[in-house]
Each structure stands twice: as C-alpha cells, then as structure tokens.
Symmetry: none
Subunit: 193 residues, 4 copies
C-alpha cells in the first residue's frame, strides 16, 4: 500500500508546508518535491498527478478529524456533549497547526471547482457523523425534533468554517480555542429543544 511508505506522508507534509508558505498557485510540484527533499519525478511514483496530491492532503488530514469525531461519538454521554466536543476538537486541531489551517481554509479553496467537488465528497463523511449527532439529539429530545437536519448541519458546519476562516484571515491574532464555548453555546441555543 503506497500510503504506508514513508515517502507518501513525507510528500503530503511537504505539500502542506509548500502551499501554506507559497500559496496555492505558487506551490508548484517542483517546490513540493524540494520541500520533501526528493526529485520532481519521484512525486509521480506516489501520486497520479498534482490534483491527486491535494486530494490526498485533504483525505489524510480530514482523516484525523473523522477519527477524533468517531472517538467522541463513541465516548460521549449526551448529544450536547458530543457536539460540544466536536467543535472543540475541530478548533483545537487547526489552532495547533496553522499551516494546515491556512491550507484548508484559504489555499485549497482556490483549487478548481472539480477538485473542490472531490474534496467535498471527502468532507461528506465528516458531515455524516455530524448528522448522526444531530439526529440522535433530536430522538433523545435534547435537540428540537422538528428541525430540518440538513439546515442544522449547514448551520453548525457553516459557523465552524466561517469562524476558523475569519481567524486565519485575521492572521491568528486571537485565541481561537477560547471562542469554542461561545460558538458552541450559540449553536446549541439554535438547535436545542
């Protein structure tokens, strides 16, 4: 399996750094290769093309969010707590990796519509877990059982996304993690029963 080879992750990490430091359009394959300490051609032994690198970046990194969220769902007591811990986790991971935050919130969005559609399908798995939490809460009576799940999900994710993007655009000037409880509170107000 290619993704178990050491150079695979090496290239992924190099791509995140190259994109964060140079911007999406200035992160040429040659720069990623240089950052990874390998030759340009070697990239193509591990990735089909440049787009494949970028999708893989998203898959690999999103994987962390998904694994964490599965853990949270498994261990959480209530839906409210799960949602709360999901937001906290999302903020924490990105606050602790500003390169990654820049890449996911700003740079990767400059990619072609086609690439973003693929990224979206990766994202869907994460949103499905979010839907699980919401539905569970509606069933248990913690959340408003009459609300439209899709819209609730869009509110939760849209708010998280906008909050982090603003933080990145403001050049990380304030403590992102500290805002998590307030964000959580507003969102819970919106959907609670």
């Amino acid at each position: 399996m290619k993704r178990d080879k050491p150079k695979y992750k090496q290239i992924i990490d190099a791509a995140v750094i190259a994109i964060a430091e140079n911007g999406y359009h200035q992160a040429q394959v040659s720069k990623i290769a240089k950052q990874a300490g390998i030759a340009d051609g070697t990239i193509y032994l591990y990735f089909k093309n440049k787009e494949d690198i970028l999708i893989s970046v998203f898959e690999e990194k999103m994987g962390v969010f998904i694994e964490n969220l599965q853990e949270i769902i498994k261990n959480g007591e209530s839906s409210t707590e799960k949602l709360s811990r999901m937001i906290e986790n999302h903020f924490t991971v990105l606050a602790n990796d500003r390169h990654l935050a820049t890449v996911t919130q700003l740079e990767l969005r400059q990619s072609s519509k086609q690439l973003r559609l693929k990224i979206n399908s990766v994202l869907k798995e994460y949103l499905k877990l979010l839907d699980e939490i919401l539905i569970e809460g509606m069933v248990s009576g913690e959340f408003n059982p009459n609300m439209d799940v899709r819209i609730a999900r869009q509110m939760v994710f849209g708010t998280i996304d906008e909050t982090i993007t603003t933080w990145v655009m403001n050049e990380y000037r304030y403590d992102l993690i500290a805002t998590a409880p307030k964000v959580t509170q507003l969102l819970l107000n919106g959907i609670k029963n």
Copy 2:
C-alpha cells in the same frame, strides 16, 4: 464616470455568464469579450486588467445586497424582522440568478488570495450592516445582550453562505427560498434573548 456607460455593465454581465458557464480558469478575456459582443481590446477601455473585471463583478453585484440591506434596515420594525428579511433577500437574489450564485459561491473563490482579500473588503461593508442589526437587537432586548457579536455574525453569515453553497453544489435541485424561514428560525433561536 465609466461605470455609467452601457458597455461597463455589459461587460460585467458577460463576465458573470462566461465564468458561470466555463469556470473561473476557463473564462478567458476573449471569452468575456465574445459574450459581451465586443472586441477583446474594448475590455481594456473600461477595465485596467482581468482582475479589475472580477473585482468589479463582485462590487457591482454585492452592491445590490448592500443597498437592499440598507433599505431593509431603514424600513424594518424589529431587529428580528430585519434579520429575517436580510436572509430572505440574500436567498432570493441568488436563487433568481443562478449564474451569479455559481460565480459568488464557487468560481470567484478560486481567485488568488490577493483578489479574495479585495473581495473581502467589499464584503466587510455587508457584514457591518449585519453587525448593526445584531447590536440593535441586543440593545432592544430581542437578542441575547451577552453574546459575542463577532461570533454571532460569523454564525449568521457562515450559515447563509454554507446553505447557498450547498444548494449550488447540489445543482439547484431544491427550492432555496423555501428554506429561508427554517434557516432564519434556527439562527434566531441561537441568538434570541
């Protein structure tokens, strides 16, 4: 004033169509000119360069949102009503111009970080008006006076944005305007006193 000349708006509209139909990176100046029914060179009598066209597209179209919102703020009775009508207006304008919706929600985001920073400064004016509504509501007691305005704003705008983007990505399959009341309800729940 150049923006009062008929060809100015003609080019803006041609750009929206060309970008919506071909995608951001495939909307060459020659395509925009052809769509506008003029020669390539004529573009440059009205715009400094291609980026200038794109910024102007955003300014012109965002201008509609801002003017509408100012009207809403002037005429609305309560903050609740103003927020409700803002969301309704935002959804209605884009639901009625799918080309524009595609351009603002998907295509223009692929532009360079520099262009997006300029777009953001145009956006700021809109967000300032949103802040006005929120603060007024907090003062009047309609909205929770203890909430963090910035986070509330990010929730409102993030939710609107995510909702419309999802709609566009789903290829306008459902009635966007019909979802406005539900979106409004969830958001109001979140911020009401």
Copy 3:
C-alpha cells in the same frame, strides 16, 4: 502642400518631444497626439502612418543640417575650413537641442531595419555634400589625393556620430561644442595631404 500647414510641424515637434521623453517604444501615436494637443485620428490627416511621422521627423530635422551645410560650402574659403565648419555646425545644432540629439542618436536607432534604411537614404544627401568637400580638397591638394573617398567619409561621419552618441549616453555631462576643434584636428590629420 501638407508640410506647410501649421499642424504638420506641430506634430513633428510633438513627436521629437514624445520620443525624447518616453523613448522610442513608449512614444505611442496617442502620446504624440496628446503632446501636439490634437486627437489621435488627426495625425492620420497629415501622415500616412507612424513610420511616416518618424521619417518626416528625420527629413525635417536633417533638412536643417543640409541647408546649413550648403551654406557652408557656398561661403567657405578652403575645403579645410568647410570641413571644420561642418563639424562645428553638426555639434552646435545637436548641443542646442538635446531632445533632438537623444532622438537621432539613441531613440530612432531602435526603429526597424526598414525604417533605418529609409532614414539612411535621407542621410545620403548630407553625406553627398560631405563627399563634395572631400573631393574638392583632394583636387585642390588640401587632402590626400590618393585616399579612398568612401572610407574618408565613413571616418568623418563615423567619428562625428560616435562622438555625439557618447556625449548623449554620458547625459550631456561635458561641453560637446568645445570638443569640436579637437575632433576636427584629428580628422584633418587623417586626411590632409
């Protein structure tokens, strides 16, 4: 006759200034028109095309040199004196019109080979007069009767040209006219009997 109309000379002079101030490649027709205080299109009532302006600039200005030289030939006593006064005149005219000097020595040389061939044919009339002086001197015994006239002419003109070009490239830093006697002396040494 078009060249008797006031706008004809007005455009010629505007062209010299526009070229001197902006450089050959940055002296667009629109700049020349603006400098002349007329509309772009008006240029084409007096000149066939841009090349025609530039040739005319050269013709008109070279005309001064030719008239002066004819006068010098008519009034001069000896060939030596005539050559001396020719060099003096050439230096004086250009030292007194730095715009013109820049245009003839630097800017006009960037024109296409084709244009420079035409310029050369204008120049020929001037060089013919120079040949007259040289041949007369050879016949009279002032100059070496065995020398090759063409080479002597190339030496005289090449030296004049190089001297002025160097002066222009050195940004007129020294007194060009003051060098005329030394230049004349060297050249006369070379060709005298």
Copy 4:
C-alpha cells in the same frame, strides 16, 4: 556552469541566425527554439528571459573580439602594429560571419535602451583595451602625445563601426577585409605623432 553546456552555445548560435534571417522584432522565442532544434521551454532552462538571450549573444560574441584583442596587445611589437591588427581582426571576424555582422551592426541596435545600456557596458571592456593601445602609443611617441584619448578612441571606434555598418547596409557587396589597410592608414595619419 550553464555556459559550458552544449545547449547554451546552441541557443546563442540559433539566436544569431534567427535574428539575422528574420530581423530583431521577428525573432520570436519560438523561432529561436525551432532554429536550435529544441522546445520553447528549454530556452528558459538556460536563459532568464528573451533579453537575457540577447545580452548573452553580445557577451559571447564580443568575448571573441576581446580575447583576440588581448592576444594582439600581448604579442604586438608596436602600438601602430597593434592598432592595425585590431582593425584587421575586427573586420575579419565580421566579414567571416555575416549573420553576426548583421546582428551586431543592425538588428541588436533596435533593442530597448535598457538592453543597449547593458550591451554598452560589455563594449566598454573592448574600448578600454583600445584606450590602452592609444595611451601606450602616446607614451612611446608613436602617437601624438597631446591628443585627447577619448576623442581618438571615438574616432577609431566610430570609423570601424561606420565602415562595417555601411558594408552590411550595402549587403556585403564589396570586400570588407580589403578596406582594412586603407582605414588603418587614415586613422594612423590622424593620430600619429
């Protein structure tokens, strides 16, 4: 070192031919690449941009003149002989490479003022060596010790340049090398003691 790689010289030579055959403004990068038998992009592995090719053409080719002249200075017996051999060499090199002669005497002069300034700084080295010969001759008493070196240099170089340019403009119709002794004789007359 890039200039030791075979493709470097290959491109330089292709540029000389492409410019000589098509003219400066019609010598597009694609034509130079085609002439060199390589892809357009390959040019940019060896040169920063098109201007860099042209400067390099001049440097490389002027280098031959400079090296030859250094050799001549080293081996020549008298200043008179050195000057004589310098002129002979200058004529011979260009008479034997008409492409190069066309490029240096006609085409390269159409380049932008900026490029010509760079070309001039290359030329300066050659002129410095000429100055060396002149000064040496003035010290040894072969040349007039009272003459102005700058003007003498301008006469020598201006004459050489004008002679060759005229020959090129006359489409190489006569034997350039055969005129060298006459040119030399006239110049020596001008500067000898």
